[in-house]
Symmetry: C2
Subunit: 364 residues, 2 copies
């Protein structure tokens, strides 16, 4: 009898491989080349595997809409505008953000292999999925990886009430003796995806996440979606450092948007619009150029060990390391499948019908 309530009837599970080949097939039917479709699928499903559903396959519809509306260029001429041994500027030609991002990070890694450092900035791209994906690409090559992107305006600057800044994420990954350290954070208190979950459940949001259209802190998620805005990391005003989150967001706009000859979040548009003008910043640091990789990994693991064994607060079960929860979730989901919200399943199957591929096989 105690099992009651342990199964959430709103979800079904789908295996990673089934989901992967589904996304690839859908995208290919829409004219995306196979290699590109695989890159997008891998990125979306990595988000689902790691528990970041807001950036997982539930976003497929937005990409499909972007393709159908012509907002995404399926055969982009992704070209290097300028480059040196340690840097490049890429024009994404409005291609799929994941494809542009993948190629840009690959280039950063290549440059870092040869010259120690690779900085690649990108303009004219689209929403690129989870920032951490690209940072991890470098970490598995024994490098530190950094990835940032501007994004459409959702966050008010300190003292302001307008949606001006993006949630502009910053990701950094670094290898350890075990799984990589992976920081992947929006520069707002929470990403918009968290509010979408509260909205769906009809629950009030915690006081301090967002403001209404007058700039007052609100717990009413509808008020946020109707002309309100998210707050930058640090919250309202300056007392708890809201100006720092605001500054980090502008930092991303500078490094990704202005340095690339692109734009800043206020002018970034949805993927379904033409010229959504998303810009990215990627960096790979070849650890071996500085210190032996083994020494680096050893120290990373020692720091993590010290962190985890440092004195805990009585209300916390453990001290987490960045990326750790995601890797644990990944382990489970690779084994028993990825939970898909039933409404999302419906939407995915509608897409399947529309483009003419088989419906998703669920595990139950």
């Amino acid at each position: 009898m105690f099992e009651k309530g342990y199964i959430d009837e709103n979800y079904v599970r789908v295996s990673r491989d089934e989901l992967f080949s589904f996304v690839v097939k859908v995208l290919m039917k829409l004219g995306v080349p196979k290699e590109d479709a695989e890159i997008v699928a891998d990125n979306l499903i990595m988000a689902d595997l790691r528990g970041i559903e807001s950036h997982g396959v539930q976003r497929l519809k937005r990409y499909v809409d972007g393709i159908l509306s012509g907002g995404i260029n399926l055969k982009p001429n992704i070209r290097i505008v300028r480059e040196g041994a340690s840097y490049a500027l890429i024009d994404g030609d409005e291609g799929l953000g994941q494809v542009v991002g993948y190629k840009a990070m690959k280039l950063a890694i290549e440059k870092a292999k040869k010259s120690g450092i690779g900085v690649v900035v990108v303009r004219n791209s689209n929403h690129y999925g989870i920032a951490g994906y690209y940072a991890l690409m470098a970490a598995v090559e024994g490098m530190i990886g950094i990835s940032m992107t501007n994004s459409r305006p959702l966050v008010a600057p300190t003292g302001g009430v307008e949606r001006f800044l993006g949630t502009n994420p910053i990701a950094l990954a670094a290898p350890t003796k075990d799984k990589p350290f992976l920081l992947d954070m929006a520069t707002s208190v929470v990403p918009i995806g968290k509010l979408e979950v509260y909205r769906r459940k009809g629950k009030p949001i915690p006081e301090g996440w967002a403001i209404d259209s007058e700039g007052n802190i609100t717990t009413d998620v509808e008020k946020v979606f109707n002309g309100g805005a998210l707050l930058p990391l640090g919250g309202f005003g300056e007392l708890f450092g809201g100006h720092k989150g605001y500054g980090l967001s502008v930092m991303v706009d500078i490094l990704a948007g202005i340095l690339s000859g692109g734009t800043w979040s206020r002018h970034v548009k949805n993927t379904s619009e033409r010229h959504s003008e998303v810009d990215h910043f990627f960096m790979a640091i070849n650890i071996e150029a500085f210190v032996p990789l083994e020494e680096f990994k050893e120290k990373m693991s020692r720091m993590i060990e010290e962190l985890k064994s440092s004195k805990r607060h009585k209300d916390f079960e453990r001290i987490w390391i960045h990326g750790e929860k995601g890797f644990l979730t990944m382990q489970t989901r690779l084994k028993i499948g990825i939970p898909i919200y039933k409404k999302v399943l419906e939407e995915l199957n509608q897409i399947a019908e529309m483009v003419g591929v088989e419906k998703l096989k669920v595990k139950g």
Copy 2:
């Protein structure tokens, strides 16, 4: 009669030049070479000019103590351990942090001039003053400047109660058509200097800045100084993103400490101790390698203009840009002098007497 209370009797004013030559003389008397003394003085006084008193001349005593105790090496062999066209690893040989930092950032700028990017990491240094100083060095050369440093442990990780992380600041400066944009932030809610001000005034601190030795949020500043800790940006727990501030702090430890073959904040010591093991990360990005500098500046200024003219919250008089308050304060203080707390003046004059230089001339 309304003027009453407008003058704070706890402060005197000293001109920038008087303060500069005072600090230089004191350091030279202690055996610091002239060029090095000038670098330290410039850094400390820049902090005072910009209103960051905690990092200004009130810190001179700590450097003097560090020199007298042998914790600081006055004739360090600051050497390049490894380098490439776009990067270098420097050993600071326990020299004055400002001197080591200045030389490292100079090198980063030089490398960026030639190759587009300059990344310089430093180990075995000491407290380097304000992080923004080095970032600004790049901005005035038409580059983006980034500066980070680890620092002695003061901040508890999310879920923990121990002082483990440093306040590990991140600074980024970028040129505009007017004064540079300058983000210079501790990755904790507030730097320790803010608590020192409350302690001095005997006032309770806002709820959410720090915890006591049990890990509970406290407003009693004495409890923080007696075994408590600062909270990372985002505050207590994960609800408002405390794990993000914690992650940014670790990021600095990775980039400055572990990448340089140095250490992480938990093992960083006070300047007066030998082997304080402070590590830095510097980066200069030559904007001209990516886009024309004028275009970059133009866009920066346009973004700032848009930010400042975006809709304000009714309780805020204006929307500030990062660095702006500091430049305004600088303008005033260059004109009418730098306010020095009387107890600090006393301390400075004791130092003067000890080393045998003239007392500070105050403007009144």
